[in-house]
């Protein structure tokens, strides 16, 4: 059986990620476990955005809002003494899916420039909402009372356990996402992106499908937010700031839009880049800014194409 370059790349990547905790333990560098876990959490956020951005062509500039909602869905119950992980994470997914449904219902009535600005505006609205929540820290945010509790062997306070939980969720999301984009539903989304007029002419009403995709992406983003709150053990409205949305978008582009696996690479590379640059100077953003511009202008295809070969981005 011939193994494609793509499959090889995916297996290698997965193996690498799976090996981080034992390697970190062996080399006595727990920092790396923390770093890669953080990268995977953002990878989950980026993959969820790729569903609507890369496959659906919906340039949502407010995706970070769902991370914020997910984070607060963990933080607020924890504040009140409810630390049941199933409840918190379930709430995170449900609340962000609901928000996505509302935001999508309004935003998807527009397209192009307006759509971008409106999703941005809605995210900002949620950001201000977060700031106004005095009880939960306002614009300073608050510490997470305690990590989500799941019972049994799953104790998120164990770094390696938490790591593998995140990895499992990432793999699950990629698997489900992969099926989704190839399914009938996925084909409609991709067709609407390719040529919306044509899609309508053969009888598709794209709105309901786009909205559904939007909700799915929102829910997944919420889960990423729940994970992020547990990771940093601190949550602030900054999670929802629009510059965060821009960062996640960059991860998608950098890794390869519409490839599902590309954004994982994008998350890793961008976070690594930010880490390296910020070690060089506190003014690292003045370097990052132009780098991002250059990527957009010259490297639009993304890194996944480089790694896994040309046949990765199909129609």
């Amino acid at each position: 059986m011939a193994i494609s370059r793509r499959t090889l790349a995916l297996v290698a990547g997965g193996a690498l990620l799976a090996l981080v905790p034992p390697i970190a333990a062996l080399t006595n560098q727990p920092f790396y476990l923390d770093l890669f876990r953080r990268m995977m959490i953002f990878a989950i956020a980026a993959v969820s955005l790729d569903l609507i951005l890369g496959y659906g062509g919906m340039v949502s500039f407010g995706h970070a809002a769902y991370l914020g909602i997910g984070a607060y869905a963990v933080g607020i119950p924890a504040f009140h003494g409810v630390d049941n992980g199933w409840l918190q994470w379930g709430l995170a997914i449900a609340a962000s899916a609901l928000a996505a449904a509302v935001i999508g219902a309004v935003s998807l009535r527009t397209s192009g420039v307006s759509f971008i600005m409106i999703t941005l505006a809605f995210a900002q609205m949620l950001y201000y909402l977060g700031i106004s929540l005095e009880t939960y820290g306002g614009d300073n945010g608050m510490r997470l009372a305690g990590r989500s509790r799941f019972g049994g062997p799953i104790d998120l306070r164990e770094p390696a356990v938490f790591y593998y939980v995140v990895l499992a969720i990432l793999v699950l999301l990629l698997t489900l996402g992969n099926r989704l984009v190839a399914s009938r539903f996925g084909m409609v989304i991709r067709a609407a992106r390719s040529n919306e007029v044509r899609a309508r002419a053969i009888g598709f009403s794209p709105f309901r499908y786009k909205l559904t995709a939007f909700v799915i992406a929102g829910g997944a983003g919420g889960l990423a937010g729940a994970l992020l709150a547990n990771q940093t053990e601190y949550l602030t409205p900054d999670f929802m700031h629009w510059t965060r949305s821009g960062e996640i978008m960059f991860m998608v582009i950098l890794g390869g839009m519409g490839t599902l696996f590309g954004p994982v690479i994008g998350a890793v590379v961008l976070l690594l880049l930010e880490d390296v640059l910020s070690a060089l100077t506190t003014h690292w953003q003045i370097i990052l800014g132009p780098i991002l511009i250059l990527v957009v202008l010259f490297a639009k295809r993304g890194l996944f194409g480089l790694v896994a070969g040309a046949e990765t981005r199909d129609g």
Binding site: R109, L120, Q124, Y128, G246, H283, Q285, G289, V296, L297
Partner: protein, 310 residues
């Protein structure tokens, strides 16, 4: 409900003043969207550059008026340089590319001003000859400086109206907003027109920023907060339409200011004061987005779209 007339009038004027700032930003942005089909997230950076330059020039020359007067062409220059160096390649690209590239510009500019002037907020004071109040009505003093902003805004609006409706250039601008391919087919030098429009937008943003200094503080990232509201203005008003920018700016400026001032006491008459205390400010900052959602629900293309509806 003890809202007195004086307070209402004062807040209305504040709403108008904020609306002027929004209009100055929105006018440039909506033209750039409408004519060049360019999503420019870095428009807020031009506002910020205008504020910093005005502050710097005022310090150098000792005169506020001179400071603002110098900041305008300087910001225009910055805008033109950015257009030529970074934005020209983006006209042909899709909106996503434009969003991301101009996002990179934001990061760059925010850090640039932080390097030159530091991260701390700079508080500039209103120049002495414009400080103080004047009597709008007997018993109703209003800060002179804010009144001047309103007057400047009206003056600019009139000048823009004259430019757009009475001059050849304005005709090309209007034609471009309504059908871009057509005017280039008719032989109008597109690149010159684009650079002019962008420069004009930059100057207006710079003016807003220059005037903003004494009222709001000057700090890295100050452009983004107002930028998003400017987006709301444009979405409500209709892309490419100056008239829409005027109406949208006034509506949003009023809604935001009056909402902040009166929503809490208004709510307190309906629900309990402690609840109003919590909900009031939250609703106030959300109010303009809810307004935008409402407008979009009935008129997705805005109130005065330049392209017309089919």
């Amino acid at each position: 409900m003890s809202i007195n007339f004086a307070l209402l009038l004062e807040q209305t004027l504040n709403g108008l003043q904020y609306g002027v700032m929004l209009f100055l930003m929105a006018a440039g942005l909506t033209l750039v969207f409408g004519i060049m089909n360019l999503v420019n997230l870095a428009h807020g950076s031009l506002y910020m550059v205008g504020a910093y330059l005005a502050t710097a020039f005022t310090e150098k020359t000792g005169s506020f008026v001179l400071g603002v007067a110098l900041a305008l062409p300087a910001t225009l220059l910055v805008g033109v340089v950015v257009e030529i160096v970074a934005l020209r390649t983006l006209y042909e690209r899709d909106h996503l590319d434009q969003v991301l590239a101009t996002f990179g510009l934001i990061l760059f500019f925010n850090e640039l001003v932080a390097i030159v002037w530091g991260r701390a907020a700079i508080f500039t004071s209103v120049p002495p000859f414009l400080s103080g109040h004047f009597r709008v009505l007997p018993g109703l003093p209003y800060p002179t400086y804010r009144a001047v902003i309103i007057l400047v805004g009206i003056a600019v609006a009139i000048m823009l109206w004259a430019l757009v409706t009475r001059t050849r250039l304005g005709m090309r601008i209007r034609a471009g907003a309504s059908n871009r391919t057509m005017i280039s087919a008719l032989g109008v030098d597109i690149r010159q027109l684009y650079t002019f429009v962008f420069g004009l937008g930059a100057a207006l943003a710079g003016l807003a920023g220059a005037m903003a200094g004494p009222v709001y503080s000057v700090q890295p990232g100050m452009g983004e907060g107002i930028l998003i509201q400017v987006f709301v203005v444009i979405v409500i008003g209709g892309i490419g339409s100056i008239r829409g920018a005027v109406v949208g700016a006034i509506v949003v400026g009023m809604a935001d200011t009056l909402g902040r001032a009166f929503l809490k006491p208004l709510l307190a008459t309906i629900i309990s004061p402690p609840a109003a205390d919590k909900a009031g400010p939250a609703l106030a900052s959300m109010s303009i987005y809810l307004l935008m959602a409402a407008v979009l629900f009935f008129r997705p293309e805005g109130l005065f779209p330049a392209r017309g509806r089919s």
